[in-house]
Symmetry: C2
């Protein structure tokens, strides 16, 4: 098969193109408004004001105080700052060393929990998820101990798109007096981020998931939650995150988040229609395939599946040849050959989990894109199954 010249990008959960409006907003801060925001002369103060305005924009969308917004270098840093920062601060205060999380977190949370356990003796409890990936708030409640210092549950899963009952889990956490963090990286551009309605104390965002640049994120940290910085130096971000502010990207993140939330309803409606057409088409045209994640309570842009008798990797390469960008398992470890920990946690057998495909839609996708996938994918699946010793037609 010859490589298609047209590219249909269906991996918006991995990353997105930076919106031209965002690039335009960032450009002046490379040059000529390149001041260091810590400098007291005009050029520096212009940079500081741009950051202040960006912080207010983000705070408005989160329904929080600007001072509760910490700019970081990415969603992974935000997750690390939440877990390590609150974990160490509360542990050093003698509150304990027990963290509750789920088995379907992004690696930025799950690997950080395991790191804290292995190298620093923290204890981790994983509450179960059902076959759709849902956490039960009652399970969280039962897992809380006297020495529980933090709960971290993903807002919407990055692989299967399931949206967790964050507000309910947050209610439980608040009743028990345990700080509650949510990784909202996938939810950032499509779901409400109102931290009071969500009952969260900490929330992570990453700009490149909502048409902002890679390399900038936010950690919302509710006033009063103890947080030991993980990166020290200058007094930036009110002593919670040292390092010269990345002015262009901070402006870019705020611009991208604002656009996403202004256009949220229309975007979600359009994209969910495309998603439903895609899901229905795949389930109709291919046998021995299953939708993964929650049938309805899922991200508007996520269509994820497992196909029996084939390897996700092989599907991706064939889709790439057909001009379709997609991913299998977690985007952050597509190069890895391990089955996705998320799909295994949903109860799927290893051999089935290996045949996963995630298609995540975005702004530039059209009905024609969906139709092209529906024309292309069945043939690829059939070709790969015909090559599989496990498959007998």
């Amino acid at each position: 098969m010859q490589k298609q010249s047209k590219t249909i990008y269906l991996d918006h959960a991995a990353t997105t193109a930076v919106d031209p409006r965002v690039v335009e907003a960032m450009l002046p801060y490379f040059n000529p408004q390149y001041g260091n925001a810590s400098s007291i002369y005009g050029l520096g103060q212009e940079a500081a004001e741009a950051i202040d305005e960006a912080r207010r924009t983000v705070a408005d969308i989160l329904g929080c105080q600007p001072r509760e917004v910490i700019f970081t270098s990415c969603g992974t840093e935000s997750d690390n700052l939440a877990l390590r920062g609150v974990g160490w601060a509360r542990r050093n205060l003698g509150k304990g060393n027990h963290i509750i999380t789920s088995p379907i977190e992004h690696h930025a949370v799950s690997h950080t929990c395991e790191h804290l356990k292995k190298h620093f003796g923290f204890e981790i409890t994983y509450v179960p998820v059902d076959k759709h990936g849902l956490v039960d708030p009652d399970d969280v409640s039962r897992a809380i101990r006297d020495d529980t210092i933090l709960i971290s549950i993903i807002y919407a899963n990055n692989e299967v798109g399931t949206i967790e009952p964050i507000a309910e889990i947050g209610k439980v956490a608040r009743q028990m007096g345990v700080p509650f963090h949510t990784d909202a990286v996938q939810a950032g551009g499509v779901l409400s981020l109102d931290v009071d309605q969500l009952n969260v104390d900490l929330l992570s965002l990453s700009a490149h998931k909502f048409y902002g640049p890679k390399g900038v994120g936010v950690l919302y940290a509710r006033k009063g939650v103890p947080l030991l910085p993980t990166q020290t130096g200058g007094a930036h971000e009110r002593n919670r995150r040292a390092g010269t502010e990345n002015v262009p990207y901070i402006v870019g993140l705020a611009t991208a988040l604002k656009i996403a939330h202004e256009e949220l309803e229309a975007h979600n409606q359009r994209i969910a229609t495309l998603r439903d057409r895609l899901i229905a088409g795949v389930l109709e045209s291919i046998v021995e395939v299953e939708l993964t994640g929650h049938p309805t309570n899922r991200l508007p842009n996520n269509a994820s599946f497992v196909f029996k008798y084939i390897e996700g990797e092989a599907m991706l390469l064939n889709l790439d040849l057909a001009g379709i960008c997609a991913s299998s398992g977690s985007a952050c470890s597509s190069a890895s050959l391990e089955a996705s920990h998320v799909l295994l946690a949903l109860g799927l057998p290893h051999e089935v989990a290996h045949g996963s495909l995630r298609l995540t839609l975005g702004r530039e996708n059209t009905e024609e894109d969906v139709d092209y996938v529906l024309e292309t994918l069945p043939g690829i699946v059939q070709k790969l199954r015909d090559m599989s010793p496990l498959y007998s037609n």
Copy 2:
């Protein structure tokens, strides 16, 4: 005094304008080459290749293997990863918890040392510096103990520009088997970064000090040096720094470093001539002023002074009105009213350290800029002294 419309930027140690060639190199990676470098399809692999090429470029300039280059979000993160990463790795291996550093480090090192001491029980020894800010390698040698796990000495000081005898200190460290880190953030664009000649095991860089963007750095980490990551998640940077790669900035950093080192000799010669003209002019035209830092062994772009009887802050505001961007004490804490820890370590009294001024030249500065400062500064100093109760003419 009415604000000047012309701006003369003399704060290149704080930050630099992004070179238009660097912006141009970065732009395609915002859009359309926005792929996630972890994705296996073409768009992702193009991003991975851009990072590989950037890594090779940096490695060539450092004289190291590409795998020894870790891309981070800034110089501060690089310093933190070096100190926390090696500190914890070696401590957890039972090697001890003693770190040697100098009293004239950037806050990213000094505050991190103090943080490790206060919150995690590490022990810190500060070797002295002489009145020019020089560390004596013999002092480092004497400070090494059986439980010393790391030595961190700045390559060239950010306030007074003194260049430390890094190769000699590195030799001592190597003889004693202690990993040696240097914060080369100020040296990055103007001094040799050959890690073998410098005898360093870890070296920090920040792009925005050499006409690259703010928000990207490098930590060189010699193969074999134990390093516990401080930010965990995906397997990025060979499991040493998790987080989706900031492709545009990584490309930008490499482009900026390459340009700086190609143009290094001519740039340094030109800039040192301007610096010498500036220093001589200030010392000739103003009384009761002292050059700070080493008279000759200093960064080619650094002219730093203390003026008796005046506050640096007041000088900066007056210079700003005259269109001159400068800084006093450390740029990262110019907003702070504390006297610079660097100037105090050089033995200057508090009241003198408060009257500090740092002028750091850069690519776009001209002889006319220097002459303008020399015309402007004496009047400002005299005006402020005339207002000072401590000064009697």
